[in-house]
């Protein structure tokens, strides 16, 4: 097992161990990380908006007579 695999395994074990906390305690943990989650989402939304505005618009279809 590599160092990275060992690190992942330790991380997974630690994460699983959080299951044994009481429900209110888990909710409080979720409350504590919420500002970070919000910051990540805001960052992602800004990036998406920036990427969308940087993408050139597709060429418009030539105008001409249309049929119903």
């Amino acid at each position: 097992m590599t160092d990275v695999e060992r690190l992942f395994e330790r991380q997974a074990l630690w994460q699983r161990s959080r299951r044994t906390l009481s429900w209110p305690e888990k909710i409080r943990l979720a409350e504590r990380i919420r500002p970070t989650v919000q910051a990540f989402r805001l960052q992602r939304e800004r990036r998406t908006a920036r990427d969308a505005s940087a993408t050139p618009a597709p060429p418009r279809a030539p105008s001409g007579p249309t049929r119903d």
Binding site: Q15, R16, R18, R19, L21, W23, P24, K26, I27, L29, A30, E31, I33, R34, V37, Q38, R41
Partner: protein, 169 residues
């Protein structure tokens, strides 16, 4: 979240809702490790579900107690609470089968793990599939229980697809 439970119990006691149950990520955490979430989703059965403004009386009840709306949510303490009227037989059954948990001394109605899993299965986004997997991994539900409820709710295809994609070796 305790404040949310107190508000929801008051709402039910006053008859504004017939019943309520927490679902989504906040409910999932009762059974699994903590997960990141920004809001609390609450299933509600209202006395007049055919009203055009089906959530109007809920918002009014909240506003009278100092809880303001924020988009489609109501801010209760640190939690934006999203009220979702029961919208299908599955959600009706989930509400009927909800359990009463204890949250810091306050009773709090919560959707049980099997219904949580099958609701997630029916929604079918990546994060919903992650919820089903987390519930299975925490051993609060078995594949047979999910398959059974999925069959009763007409979701056998969705379950079989899920099982093929995530559970078959």
């Amino acid at each position: 979240m305790r404040e949310v439970a107190v508000l929801l119990n008051a709402m039910r006691d006053s008859g504004v809702v017939i019943d309520y149950a927490l679902f989504g990520a906040a409910a999932q955490m009762r059974y699994t490790e903590p997960v990141a979430t920004l809001d609390a989703d609450v299933l509600v059965a209202v006395p007049a579900p055919d009203r055009l403004d089906v959530l109007g009386s809920i918002y009014e009840f909240c506003r009278a107690r100092g809880y303001d709306t924020e988009g489609e949510s109501v801010r209760v303490g640190t939690w934006p609470v999203q009220f979702v009227p029961v919208f299908s037989p599955l959600t009706q059954h989930a509400l009927a089968a909800a359990e009463t948990a204890d949250f810091d001394g306050v009773p709090f109605r919560v959707v049980d793990p099997v219904h949580l899993a099958v609701i997630a299965l029916s929604v079918g986004r990546a994060r919903d599939f992650a919820r089903v997997l987390a519930l299975l991994e925490s051993e609060v539900v078995t594949p047979a229980q999910i398959a059974g409820l999925a069959a009763r709710e007409g979701l056998t295809d969705a379950w079989e697809q899920f099982a093929r994609r995530f559970l078959d070796d």
